[in-house]
Amino acid sequence: MSLASQNPSSLDLAYRVQSEAVAARFTKLHTRPVILQAEHLSCEFDSERGRVTALRDINVSIHRRELMCVIGPSGCGKSTFARVIAGLQPVSAGRILVDGQPVNGPGPDRGMVFQGYTLFPWLTLTQNVRFGLDMQGRSDGPADREARQWLDLVGLGKFHDSYPHQLSGGMKQRVAIARALAAGPKILLMDEPFGALDPSTRAQMQAHLLEIWRNVDITIVFITHDMDEAILLADRILVLKANPGEVQEFIEVPVPRPRRLDQFATPEFQAMRKHLDSLIHPAPSAGAPDHAPLPFIRLTQAGDDVE
């Protein structure tokens, strides 16, 4: 299945080599029940530039407790993919099944963490995390206790009475994750959640996320444009191509688990990275304006060269 839509121009197939442990893991993964299924999914909408086909005929199955990343060039519809699963964006054709049930609008079985900060600024952290529980009509005491537990889990128990504006960006996204998880979703959708963070915070957050994923019964669909992030996190990576957004390849990541930041240098990682690069940044066609050299004339004096 992972080879079904392989790019024939890609000759370097090193990324397909899996160690025994990794292969065994994937075999086990495929035996798990399918929790999320996209069938002939298409999504079109009107924008200022006319009618846009964001997604066309997407067919994907994701198993329970899988961590899948979606990657692709900008404009490939990867955000739309997350929004469609969340029920925030209507589909034009096909359907989404969660645990066998067709999706019809947003619901608490699919939590979402957004790129922008979406904590409710008028609520304390506890009240934010409790929000989903309140919507389910849970009584006060237990809801409060549970919210605290989730805050403890993301390491922010001390700040339970603070307000979002008192937190840093990374802390806000941790609360957002806690809030989404507290509502008890089957699937956690994450739309470039660490995109706005600085590199060191981002690395920390990636480690946090893996930690949470290990300990919580949750299936994660993670949207990113960062290839390293995708390889570090994902079991499988769904590569989309732009205009219209179609599946280019659905790849099993050969990097063994548990993942650590120092795996960047391993051959599996590098092979994977090289392959993604070739998919997302194909060799530039001649004369493309983005790659033409800048028409500079020299404005500095001789001997004042910096390189």
């Binding site: 969340a86 029920g87 925030l88 609008g105 947003p106 619901g107 608490p108 699919r110 939590g111 979402m112 957004f114 922008g116 979406t118 409710f120 600024p121 008028w122 609520l123 304390t124 506890t126 009240q127 929000f131 989903g132 309140d134 919507m135 389910q136 009584s139 006060d140 409060d144 307000y163 979002p164 504006h165 008192q166 957002a176 809030r179 989404a180 509502a183 959708l189």
Partner: protein, 339 residues
């Protein structure tokens, strides 16, 4: 740091000074125009009529007319009139207005049954308050629903927009026919003057709530009523509060017409009456009273607002915590009222 820097707040120690200057500078300009004879003074106030029959002491003449009279009288061998430079009656000097302001509060009503000035002011404030409260009571919920449900907005806003352009004063006679001649029709005018604008402004503010917050809430299971009550309302409350602050000014404008509907009363009737008799020192005194009331109200509301909506700022407050508890009354939660 320089005091005047583009887009840079001045140092805190200068802020009070700047606030005082905001009032001192216009007052200084007004004083200059009033007391420096060569600054404006387009007229001449007669001190001695000379022998021109129709000129009386105290009369104000345009300078050119005065000169013409002087020349005419001189050439006829008569005593020319004399006078001093003066501003038009429409611009009394600060001390006259100050005296009128003081006198207005210290002079008891001449007639039995008439009101002290402060009683008239209380009556005006009552009219404004009731009219505005009534308007807010209906317009805020309606605006919230219109801003939340586009279908409802399409069903109501065209008509609201249509009525909004009708001049509220034109309904004076109708208000009297329905509500009688005392305070009620005046409250009705203030209501009509503010209500329709308030609905549209409220709906507009509600529509500006960050859609990402709504989407986040939806993925957490919030639907329809809960979405409106638990997300849209608290998210736009600080802005609605500010809108309300601005719209109160709107209500004051309608007070002027409201107070000549039915039995004449209140501070703006006083203005109309005194303008009719050309007592402009009294007119400006009353206008200043209204300005002071407006300024005081606004400062108070802004002070309360900063306390209520601390989450918009960096400071926490008891009032706000209490308010958060009010907005989320579904379950009394002891931990959320603890500060």
């Amino acid at each position: 740091m320089p005091l005047f820097a583009v887009r840079r707040e001045p140092p805190a120690r200068y802020r009070w000074l700047l606030w005082v200057l905001a009032f001192a500078l216009p007052l200084a300009m007004w004083s200059a125009i009033s007391y420096v004879p060569w600054l404006w003074h387009p007229q001449v106030k007669i001190t001695d009529a000379g022998s021109v029959a129709w000129i009386k002491p105290g009369l104000r003449l345009d300078r050119a007319d005065f000169q013409a009279q002087v020349t005419k009288a001189s050439s006829a061998g008569l005593v020319p009139p004399s006078g001093e430079p003066a501003n038009p009656l429409y611009l009394p000097p600060p001390h006259a207005v100050g005296r009128a302001l003081y006198g207005a509060f210290t002079t008891p009503p001449t007639l039995k049954g008439d009101l002290w000035l402060h009683e008239s002011i209380v009556m005006s404030i009552k009219t404004i308050f009731l009219g505005f409260a009534l308007s807010s009571f209906v317009a805020l919920p309606l605006g919230l629903l219109c801003g939340s449900y586009p279908a409802l907005s399409r069903m109501t806003e065209p008509f609201v927009d249509f009525v909004r352009y009708m001049p509220a004063p034109a309904f004076g006679a109708l208000m009297v026919a329905i509500f009688g001649i005392h305070l009620e029709p005046k409250i009705g005018i203030v209501f009509l003057g503010t209500f329709f604008t308030q609905v549209l402004v409220t709906a507009g503010t509600v529509r500006r709530v960050d859609p990402a917050l709504l989407e986040a809430a939806q993925t957490l299971g919030a639907k329809r009523g809960l979405l409106v009550r638990r997300v849209i309302l608290p998210a736009c409350l600080p802005d609605l509060y500010n809108d309300t602050r601005i719209l109160i000014g709107c209500a004051w404008t309608y007070l002027v017409v409201a107070e000549v509907v039915g039995v004449s009363s209140g501070i703006t009737f006083f203005i109309n009456q005194q303008a009719k008799y050309r007592n402009f020192d009294n007119v400006y005194a009353a206008i200043m009273i209204i300005g002071l009331i407006g300024l005081a109200t606004d400062q108070l509301l802004s002070f309360i607002g900063a306390r209520l909506f601390g989450w918009k700022l960096t400071r926490r407050s008891r009032t706000r915590t209490f308010f958060a508890w009010l907005v989320a009354p579904a379950k009394a939660n002891p931990s959320s009222i603890r500060v």
